[in-house]
Every structure is written in structure tokens, then in C-alpha cells.
Symmetry: C2
Subunit: 319 residues, 2 copies
């Protein structure tokens, strides 16, 4: 057995009761549930771009799966199966053990099974494809927002971007405050249960990976509508309030990325249903604005003045 | 629209009549065919490891999809949907145009649809996940070989490894001869139609990515059997015959990788059925040996002497 196969076997072969055949053949074999639609998403994370060599391998295992689960959550899909490709500079048993621990803890929390993968030597890179299931016709798409729908977000917004700005010395924060936002950057929680609970309630949804303005912008564009957002209604961690005088902090909230919260729209008649869904999923949700017929995104500040944004979202090809 | 989304839209968004929703939402939405099992495979290709910066982007588009299609072929699956993640050092329109041309030509030849993806900035890396369908219970697995089954391979073996050895100056070849083996390295043909035609006929199958000895070795191990192979029956391009005095050339045939032919087993009562399946798929197949109860792989030379191999296959973590 070559080291490559041995490595996969040792770290990534586990029982996969939800698959007909898991790791170890040319393909995994899966039996989709009759009547369900498949949701498929893929994300690649690169060292130097999405994480640094100093980042914890367990955190990386968590986050690389979490960002894919967040895409499933944004469609309202139940996670089922994942594949994992890793390029590694060397066979490092301690690193792989920690990575696998973070990966499988995240996987087990939502019941997704690793059914296939590929390992190769190279600069650290991680590519995951996640497959979920949704009852036919129940997917939460980006193109379903309607005029007068409420705009909602889950959890708190901006923490991951604030943590990154702190780490990159673009924003001064007390260390004790920074410690409160850092988990959002390293250990995001995909809103899987909320996405499932919002089936039949939300009219559209997206996950916040590129920033609130940019991601809500995708919903507006694909739904051919606009929105007005109340900046003061956007939920943030209490600790961030004292930094909001800084333009960088405000930008982190409106245009920062990596939160992996859900942004969704729902008819105002669904307010109780949205709150009940959020309660059942154990996640806070906040109503931050409304869909408008006029195209574009308008964000009002506390004094009712529009907030302008220099940067509207994370650009994977920006310098 | 950020350059990233623009880039995906320009090069990779095409009509996907076989999907409910293609590129452009958090997930693709797919309706699996009732009664079919899904086959899922993933492969990551890295610059410096699987290809060089000088390689043609169209060829790279072809090959990166072909290696995944070859895994589907080895299970007997009908290709349906693929996702593509690319890391690129810069947005290079000419490169992307050529890559997409090679990718979609390969895709169109087997009817697979690109339904999702991810692009990011970084050292060139390509990760593809391919999904196919197989009637329940009809998948060609690695663990089905039985004692006395015939061992077969499709096409010709060793050409890709000979081309690589020539390119790396490990093997002298006349330029006119090298030109005949190079296409196998750059433009492998996944044996999709053959894999489908072998459903119900082959007892096991694998695709030759790591070399005949190593890949057949996986079948033997998972089926808990052995095999005897006749080296003189292993099909090669006529042009390679004059180089077989060189140990490097012999090793390319038995232990070289990247051929993406199928190696499969079938009962001797299925010989006519195998030949008919191959004829219907338009691919030559050759019977090269037999499955034995004694474990291990024995390869006999023309004079009946066992051939010994220093290297048994491509190791993705070898130096």
C-alpha cells in the first residue's frame, strides 16, 4: 500500500452508513432519497489566500467543511455526503490527525459523511464538495425575493471581518475584545438547522461569505428588486459597538466577509413563522430591512442618512 | 459584479438542461433519475505535480475532466454533472477561453454538464468533482474479481508513461516516435462508453491512473485474489516495441501511470459478451491474464520467466 492510500485509510476512512460505498473504490456509491432534489456545492481554500500557515489544522478542518455546509444551509438542504481533496507539502501525521478531528467534529454535528477524496503533494490546498437533499421544489433560491418582503439575517454580522481586520492591524481592538470576535473567523457555525427550518417560509436566501452588501446584492439582482436596510438593526456582538466610530469597523459589518450567517427574505405575513423556525433551530434572527421595487441597495444610518460603502464585498481576485 | 463572478459567467455559465439549477446560486440543484445510484468522484490537479506551466490550457481543461470521467467509467456510470474549482494566479482571459474550450469539448463528448464551481487567486490548481448514475446494483466495483476470471485491459498501455519518460529525458525516443505516444499523456480518452457497456458483464473494474501493476493490485487486494499476467499480451502502441529492450520502457508499461484505460475482470464465459461490449463502445480490449486463488500479482515475460518490478506504481507522495 502506497503512503498515499495508507494516509487516506488512516485519517479519513470511517464507516459511512449513509452511503452504499464510501472511500476506497473509483467512486463513492450513493442512493439518493426518492423524491428529493440534490443540492451540490464546492469550495476551494488555499494557503495564503483563505488561511495562513500558522492557522490551526483542526480549525482548518472545521472551517473548510463549514463554508460548504453554509452553502447547503442557504438552500435549505439537509447535508448528506462530502468529498475532500487535499494537497499537502508533506505527509504530516500530527497535522492530519488534527485536521481530521476538526473536520469530523463539524461533519458529525450535522450528519454529513465523507465518502471520497484525493490527496496529493503540493502547497496546502483544500477542496470540498458537499451534497445535500431537499424535498422537490422546496429549495431556498436567490431569485425568490418579492417587493415588501422583510430582509432578515441570522446570528451576528461582521465579527469575522473585524477579527481579520484586527489580525491584519487594520483596526485597533483591545485584546480582550478581539478574543470575542476571533472565533467567528476560525470556527464559523453554518446555519444548517435554520436553513432546513426556513423551507416553505423564506422566499429567498443566501449565506454571508462575501459580506452583507455583496451577498444581499446577489439576491436583489437575481430577484430583480431592491432593498432598504437599517444599519442600526444589523445585529452585531455587543463588544463591537465601541468600535463603530471607526469606518473600518462599519465597513466590516456591511461589507466584510466570512460570517457564514444566512441572509434571507420572507413575506411580512411570515414573521411569526420565521421566529418560530429560528427558535426551533436555536438561532437568533433579526429583521434588518425591506425589499423594494426600486433596484439597488440603500443602507440608512441611525440618523436616517444613507451609508455609502467604498468596498461592497470581498473579491476573490482583488489584490 | 465582481471580476470573479464575471469570469465565471463569461467562461463557465452555459445552459444546463440536465440540472434544475446550474451555476449562480449557493448550490446547484439536481434531480437524480429514480432508481439510479449516484457515483461520485473527485480529483485535484496541481501545477508542478500533475502538469507544468508550459502545458496547453485547452489540454489541461480536457485532461482535468477526463481523469474524473475515467473514474466514472471504471464504475460503469453514465456521466451527468460536474463541479469545477480553479485557483488562478491572475484573471487571464485567453487562458480561460482555451481551458474552457478543452473542458467543454470533453464534457460535450460524454454529455456531462458543469453545474457549479469556485474560482480563487493562487498557484494554478484544478479540482473537479464528477457525478454519474448507475442502475442500482450494477456498479463495477473493485471487489468482485473471482478465481479463474479473465483479466482484460482496454486500448493500449504505457503510452502516457513513455511520453513522460521521454519528456523527462529518462528514455531516449526518436522524435517521430515520441509524437505518437504524447497524445496519451495530454489528451487521454476516458472509456465511458466501455464502462457502461460492461455493466452486468465485468466482475470488477478499475481505471489505470497509477499503473497496471498498482491498479490491478487494488482489484486483487479488495477481491482477496491474485493474478497471473502475460507481459507479451499487454497491448502497446506498435511504435513502443523497438524500445522494449530498455528497462525504463518495460517499467512504463507495467508500472507507468496516466493511461486512463480500464482494467477489468470477467468470467471466461463472458468472453464473447466482453468483445461485443467493446465493439459497441468502439474500443479494443485485450485479454492479458487470469485471476488466481494464490494472492499476489505474477507477470510472465515472453520466455515464461517472472518479470520483477522495482517500482509498482505512481505514488502521489513519492519524491
Amino acid at each position: 500500500m502506497s503512503p498515499e492510500f495508507d494516509l487516506i485509510a488512516r485519517h479519513f476512512s470511517r464507516a459511512t452508513p449513509g452511503a452504499l460505498l464510501g472511500v476506497g473504490d473509483d467512486c463513492a456509491l450513493l442512493a439518493p432519497t426518492p423524491g428529493m432534489t440534490l443540492a451540490v456545492t464546492t469550495d476551494m481554500l488555499l494557503q495564503g489566500r483563505h488561511f495562513s500557515p500558522q492557522d490551526s489544522p483542526a480549525g482548518l478542518g472545521h472551517k473548510s467543511l463549514a463554508v460548504n455546509l453554509s452553502d447547503l444551509a442557504a438552500m435549505g438542504a439537509t447535508p448528506r455526503w462530502a468529498t475532500l481533496s487535499i494537497a499537502l507539502p508533506e505527509v504530516n501525521d500530527a497535522w492530519l490527525t488534527a485536521f481530521a478531528r476538526g473536520f469530523f467534529r463539524m461533519a458529525d454535528s450535522v450528519g454529513i459523511e465523507l465518502v471520497g477524496g484525493d490527496t496529493t503533494r503540493g502547497t496546502l490546498a483544500i477542496s470540498i464538495t458537499a451534497i445535500g437533499e431537499i424535498p422537490a421544489g422546496a429549495a431556498l433560491r436567490r431569485d425568490g425575493a418579492r417587493v415588501d418582503d422583510d430582509v432578515w439575517v441570522s446570528g451576528v454580522i461582521g465579527s469575522a471581518a473585524l477579527a481579520l481586520a484586527y489580525r491584519q492591524s487594520r483596526l485597533f481592538m483591545e485584546q480582550i475584545d478581539a478574543a470575542r470576535v476571533l472565533p467567528a473567523l476560525y470556527l464559523p457555525t453554518p446555519r444548517v438547522a435554520l436553513g432546513i427550518a426556513l423551507r416553505g417560509i423564506a422566499s429567498s436566501a443566501i449565506d454571508l461569505s462575501d459580506g452583507l452588501a455583496a451577498d444581499l446584492g446577489h439576491i436583489l439582482k437575481q430577484s430583480q428588486v431592491g432593498a432598504v436596510i437599517d444599519f442600526t438593526a444589523v445585529p452585531t456582538l455587543p463588544v463591537t459597538q465601541q468600535y463603530l466610530h471607526d469606518a473600518v469597523a462599519r465597513e466590516c459589518i456591511l461589507a466584510g466577509g466570512d460570517d457564514y450567517e444566512l441572509c434571507f427574505t420572507a413575506s411580512s405575513q411570515q414573521r411569526d413563522a420565521v421566529l418560530a423556525a429560528a427558535a426551533s433551530a436555536g438561532v437568533a434572527v433579526s429583521r434588518i430591512g425591506q425589499i423594494t421595487a426600486a433596484p439597488g441597495l440603500v443602507i440608512h444610518d441611525a440618523d436616517g442618512q444613507p451609508v455609502s460603502l467604498a468596498r461592497t464585498g470581498y473579491d476573490h481576485f482583488a489584490a
